[in-house]
Subunit: 340 residues, 2 copies
């Protein structure tokens, strides 16, 4: 049998009218069972697939979903992206993955590209502080968008993230209970999470009657490990540290600080013979494999990605009112390993 060239021909061989076939591809459940069987029979015999471009040209809304992360070379985002992708596919959508690679203009370009893809919805983890706020805002007005990981106030229909004001005090408590109160090691904040974590640290310390000590090191790129390493070397060599316990703003920084500690000969861990405790935040996929393994707070990847797609689907299906201003924060869990 020769190839099916278009829906017209496919409708012919399946004995169904073209508009009904069209309806089937739009939503297989919307046609009668007998009709569906006929179509699916023909589908097996002829392997026809509708032309994607023709399909989307006249649809008010496509089945496309955009997934945008700030930095894909971070396995954390790679994992989340995988999760999101799968769920979108399972729900019959076509996800497309974009990474801003830490660059403002790239993020803006991506949103522009995305707009022209007429997506049904977008899952956006913005760069944060270096996002072009106006551009993101305008985009979210036109396209149903769920923000995750990093919030921009007043932008997007909903936000899903983790509760820094729960997670940070938890690990601060732990560290204070088991040793010297921690200082807080951070870089220039790239997003609101960084700021919230610092604030949460300060509050937690004060609540426990300790004096907060925030150490900020230079660095504005997304090479967090490098920044942590350089900054770590700096504070370790200059004796800047007033405590033997360092709580890092995130795991990638902590990995850099660990490397710096190793370079300076510090013994990291919580044993008698150790001289330095280092903790992180996020439970990064590689945190289990550092030396020593990194004590940290886990973010609930699954919960965040599940809820994000759920919220987006609701937004797509039921409109803006159904999610209006949803803000869902998930709690972290303390992950005790050898480093602190």
């Amino acid at each position: 049998m020769d190839k099916i060239r278009n829906m017209e021909e496919f409708a012919a061989v399946s004995g169904i009218s073209r508009p009904t076939v069209s309806k089937y591809f739009n939503d297989p459940g919307s046609v009668r069972a007998s009709t569906r069987r006929k179509i699916e029979d023909a589908l097996e015999r002829f392997d026809y697939r509708p032309n994607v471009f023709a399909m989307n040209q006249n649809r008010r809304l496509t089945k496309n979903i955009g997934i945008v992360v700030p930095y894909l070379a971070d396995p954390f985002f790679a994992e989340i992206a995988r999760n999101l992708e799968r769920r979108c596919i399972d729900a019959g959508f076509s996800p497309t993955l974009f990474s801003s690679h830490g660059q403002t203009e790239l993020e803006t370009d991506i949103l522009e590209t995305l707009r022209s893809l007429k997506p049904a919805g977008v899952l956006l983890a913005p760069l944060g502080r270096s996002s072009d706020r106006r551009a993101v805002e305008a985009f979210c007005r036109d396209v149903p968008t769920v923000l995750f990981d990093s919030k921009i106030d007043g932008v997007g229909e909903a936000f899903i993230g983790s509760d820094n004001f729960q997670s940070v005090p938890m690990i601060v408590d732990y560290l204070c209970r088991t040793g010297e109160p921690p200082c807080f090691f951070e870089m220039q904040p790239v997003n609101p999470n960084a700021n919230k974590r610092r604030e949460a640290y300060i509050h937690a310390m004060e609540a426990l009657g300790h004096v907060p000590d925030v150490i900020r090191v230079d660095g504005e790129t997304w090479d967090f490990e490098e920044i942590g390493y350089a900054g770590g070397l700096n504070i370790l060599k200059t004796g800047r540290l007033s405590t033997n316990t360092v709580l890092c703003s995130n795991d990638r920084l902590a990995i850099g600080v660990l490397a710096a500690a190793y370079a300076t000969g510090a013994e990291v861990g919580h044993g008698e013979d150790k001289t330095l405790r280092i903790a992180g935040h996020d439970d990064h996929p590689f945190a289990r494999f550092t030396c020593p393994p990194l004590t940290t707070v886990s973010q609930d990847y699954d919960a965040i990605s599940n809820r994000s797609v759920e919220t987006l689907f609701r937004l797509i299906g039921e409109g803006r009112e159904s999610v209006a201003g949803t803000e869902m924060l998930f709690e972290g869990k303390l992950v005790m390993r050898a480093s602190a």
Copy 2:
């Protein structure tokens, strides 16, 4: 001024006929300079963008390029992908990124999706051993495809990768020169690189008059660190090791072995007081930040990605003959750090 709805209207306000405008968007250089200026003037005043779907519907070939990597949670592939993306964009193409997430069916699905995107070309790093060979082969027959990183014999118009038969002997030589001859630590090979590296190791050892010792541990997933860790614990605890030097098939495995070494209290490095040397292969983005920093062989990311896109562009522009059977292997460089 109200919004431009289509190319017709835009052609009107720019004082040029629609087909000429179409030609401009297809290739700005193909219209007279005076015409181009008129269009670009109008472009600034009205910010119109052609409808992507309508554009691609009737084009024999779109400007789309597919980029497929086997596992995006590996920062190595994330880095390469970023590089490839950028170069495609700069050349006026629209790259779309896909990750097979280590799953055969997903890779096959991606190729199917890609086919319907009518891409001008595809940059494909296949899963390798677990790829559906028939599916990949059929795809490459229909779509101009450049394979990179991992080769499948007889598939694709060209292959760009790194020269394992240069890089592995180099690090074997180094290790033999500076200490005990290494054993070779590997998992079930997921792709041809793994096999080539083992072979290269065996040859190199024999050439130097040593007895090769290949240690293969269980594991078929893409969680290399975990496999390296579990396998590492195993061999370290059972005293399976006949040498104090372990050359790992890749850096991610090595990171796992490093963690296992730490867990068992081994002192890793090449000093007098050290008991174990560990080396890897690839110069993974995180290899600099392990404790101790990982001695390894760098893959030339830039060269591989540059050459891959160059080859693809030639393939697209000049046809299959122009690249026929190109196989380009880049040499690695020894990266000496503290671990070996």
